[in-house]
Amino acid sequence: MEFTPEQIDRLSALACLSLSAEEQETFALELEQFAARLDVLLEESVWAAEREGR
């Protein structure tokens, strides 16, 4: 998942955070990496839960 500057803007507004341009850029990258790792693990766990009929 990619995080556009607009998306980061929206999220920071939602969280009432004022971010510098540098922070926006860094956090976009960090969130992207984080989401990628979560994707793999959480998808797998959802499948495991479905296999168990939950």
Binding site: A15, E30, L42, S45, A49
Partner: protein, 451 residues
């Protein structure tokens, strides 16, 4: 007699018998050269009155526990001037039985971090090697106990923040079962994961502190009415202990794995059965943890906004990153894919623990894959230190870290014992049994004790 080598209970006993005066203890207590304290309180001149076995023993609180008329900063610039008008329940209860607080201890900002480096007040240093971190987020608590600035301290544990610093500093730290200790007056990080826990030289000390501060509190609806754990008996005969293979992967340093397996042998020699087991669901824990802790932190920290608290630009980088992550997983874009998925993962983990504790009384793992890191880790590296401690928080289980050796660099290694929900006495009993057989918990960071 070298007072720094005594446990908190042993020191308390001597104070009760008046074999020691507060002045003797003050002389023995180390000065703060580690930046372990954010706010210090002068040593009391008279003996504290109280009925507890720890009355008069110097202790201190992590700086996210509210203390009436004493600053409570949470390690944050945002709260640098906050002075609560009330005591947290744990503070109130310990004060009532003669606790002598020397002040408030350094921590990662809002308890977010694993090295104590995100504190606005600068990093705490590890007493075994000041170029290294004491761990976090309760780094000040663990460092202060290890250096014997105090004989016990309170920390808080959301994903390992009591156990990991205890391991890095060579002391004993307990995360009680969720609900055993009231969280009233704790500045929340992630309410479904947070627990307040003791850090002390021994498991017996931790049990004593737990019984003094735990129990039902009408001001915390999640607190439970439970009998005290009592002094641990150390009996391991007939206990079945599992070693989850998932916690001995390639990420574990060789010295750490060897020391933990050696600890397993000690438990075996005291009558326990120890065997390898598997909990594959543990691999989901880290992902689920960051979803919940981010979501709950973004919600909990929403209160620190507006004219009263000033500009949230004063928040540190790590806190902002986690709030942003929380806002994302709670947003329409992230809720189903991440938050709901994490809930399913958490349910799987809880079920897996319930099943494994039908076969085993306790689980034994390294507390952290490696010993204390050098100061200056990247945020990503800082987050990977809680790999084995996070699962207990997700499932609300009791878990304890205690020292079990040193690595080749002379840094303490911690071993973790996990028990079933509300099995705190079982965990403390096994840890006490181990400490009756070994002397790692008696080592202090002085020349003679460094390996």
């Amino acid at each position: 007699m070298e007072l720094r080598r005594l446990s908190a209970l042993e020191l308390g006993q001597l104070l009760t018998k008046r074999a020691l005066s507060p002045a003797d203890v003050q002389k023995a207590a180390a000065a703060d050269t580690l930046n372990a304290f954010i706010t210090g309180v002068p040593f009391p001149e008279s003996t504290a009155e109280g009925s507890s076995p720890l009355a008069g023993v110097p202790m201190a609180y992590k700086d996210n526990l509210c203390t009436k008329d004493l600053p409570t900063t949470c390690g944050s610039k945002l709260l640098r001037d906050y002075v609560p008008s009330y005591d947290a329940t744990v503070v109130e209860r310990l004060t009532a039985v003669g606790a002598v607080s020397l002040g408030k201890l350094n921590m990662d900002e809002f308890a977010m971090g694993g090295t104590s480096e995100t504190s606005h007040f600068g990093p705490t240093r590890n007493p075994w090697d000041p170029s290294r971190s004491p761990g976090g987020s309760s780094g000040g608590s663990a460092a202060a106990v290890a250096a014997r600035q105090v004989w016990y301290a309170l920390g808080t544990d959301t994903g390992g923040s009591v156990r990991q610093p205890a391991a890095y500093c060579g002391v004993t730290g307990l995360k009680p079962s969720y609900g055993r200790v009231s969280r009233y007056g704790l500045i929340a990080h992630a309410s479904s994961l947070d627990q307040i826990g003791p850090i002390a030289p021994t498991a017996a000390d931790c049990a004593a502190v737990l019984d003094l501060m735990g129990g039902k509190d009408p001001r915390d609806a999640t607190s439970l009415d439970l009998p005290p754990v009592g002094p641990p008996d150390g009996d391991l005969r007939g206990r079945k202990i599992g070693l989850p293979a998932e916690c001995f992967g390639p990420e574990v340093e060789r010295d750490v794995a060897a020391a933990v397996l050696e600890a397993a042998q000690v438990l075996r020699a005291r009558g326990a059965t120890v065997e390898t087991c598997s909990i594959p669901e543990l691999r989901y824990a880290m992902a689920a943890y960051y979803v919940f802790s981010g979501a709950e932190a973004s919600s909990n920290l929403a209160r620190f906004h507006g004219p009263r608290y000033g500009d949230r630009a004063e928040l540190g980088r790590e806190v902002k990153a986690r709030i942003l992550l929380g806002a994302f997983v709670l947003s329409a874009e992230g809720y189903e894919d991440y938050y709901l998925a994490a809930q399913r993962a958490r349910a799987l983990i809880r079920r897996a623990f319930a099943a494994i504790f039908e076969r085993y009384d306790l689980l034994l793992t390294p507390t952290a894959p490696a010993t204390a890191p050098l100061l200056g880790l990247s945020p990503e590296e800082r987050r990977s230190t809680d790999l084995y401690t996070i699962p207990a928080n997700l499932a609300g289980l009791p878990a304890l870290s205690m020292p079990c050796g040193f690595d080749a660099r002379g840094l303490p290694i911690g071993v973790q014992l996990m028990g079933p929900a509300l099995g705190d006495a079982l965990v403390l009993g096994a840890a006490h049994g181990y400490q009756l057989e070994t002397d790692w918990h008696q080592r202090i960071p002085t020349e003679g004790d460094r390996p």
